[in-house]
Symmetry: C2
Subunit: 155 residues, 2 copies
DNA sequence: TATTGTTATACTCTATAACTATA
DNA sequence: TATAGTTATAGAGTATAACAATA
């Protein structure tokens, strides 16, 4: 949920029709609130949000084509060029030519990039107090549902 | 979850310590995936993501100060000036002077803005098939858990 | 003096279109 | 001809600093 300082908050003006328990609006409200969480996480590690996403989506075990990263980030290839430029200039990743198709450039995560990526992953996995305090059965149930939702790819 | 075209996906390299059910990583993965969902929702209504957030956070029932909107959007006041400029130039909101303190400018949602805001709210409330298919008891339980998390304000 | 909002500036993200070098 | 990536360009979000009006 976004800040409610001075009483400002999102207000719903329409009623849900297939979700009388209000589950979906709550999930959405939560998801949108994580915008700030992600920005802070990345900023703390001197990354922009998109640079953080890029580093997260790259595979530390094997090279990934620029075009694959563009797909993963759901943005244009021209955009990826700039994002990769910045990460490469900091020595976090590197461009490599592909052997068979010389048009393709593969991206590899450097040792330095891997360290930063691991830090990011570690911080991502630290749940906020409210989540850590949940009883295990409640977490287990919610985890099952989220797994089912993510498996659908329909959102 | 971001696109997995050509096999690219986020990989975790660290293990959670206080969340053996994997609840938190799933929740985060879900939250981050909603980035694209929100962008599309706003784009369909000819709004940028931030303009959508601004319209969502404003109160159609009463004027809101620029500074309050800045708090709600968690961004600088100078930033809000530009976002408000664009919404106002489209006739979706309007600036009003405050009576007691003439430094303050209050924002009101116009009739046109209200219609667009309602459309946005209505589309937000349509759950994806995987969510709509959940049994009511499951939804009810999960709604309780999410309410508890959001009430904490600690994320 | 302090606060509200604006302006100026600079950087990042974003897409489109034109370009190159390959295929 | 088609594809992978780059460059040029323009619009939007972002913060910092300096500013005007008001308190």
């Amino acid at each position: 949920m976004e800040s409610q300082a001075r009483g400002v908050r999102a207000r719903s003006t329409a009623a849900p029709q297939t979700d009388p328990e209000g589950f979906w609006p709550l999930l959405i409200e939560f998801a949108l609130s994580q915008r700030f969480w992600w920005v802070k996480l990345c900023t703390d590690l001197d990354l922009t949000p998109m640079q953080g996403h890029a580093l997260r989506m790259l595979d530390p075990e094997r090279p990934v084509a620029m075009s694959s990263l563009a797909d993963a980030l759901v943005c244009d290839a021209s955009n990826v060029t700039g994002i990769v430029d910045k990460l490469e200039s900091r020595g976090l990743i590197a461009r490599q030519g592909a052997t068979r198709d010389r048009r393709i450039k593969m991206l590899v995560v450097t040792d330095r990039g891997r360290k930063l990526r691991d830090q990011l992953a570690a911080r991502m996995l630290v749940p906020p107090p409210a989540v850590a305090a949940l009883a295990p059965p409640a977490r287990r149930r919610l985890a099952e549902v989220l797994r089912a939702i993510l498996a659908e790819r329909s959102t």
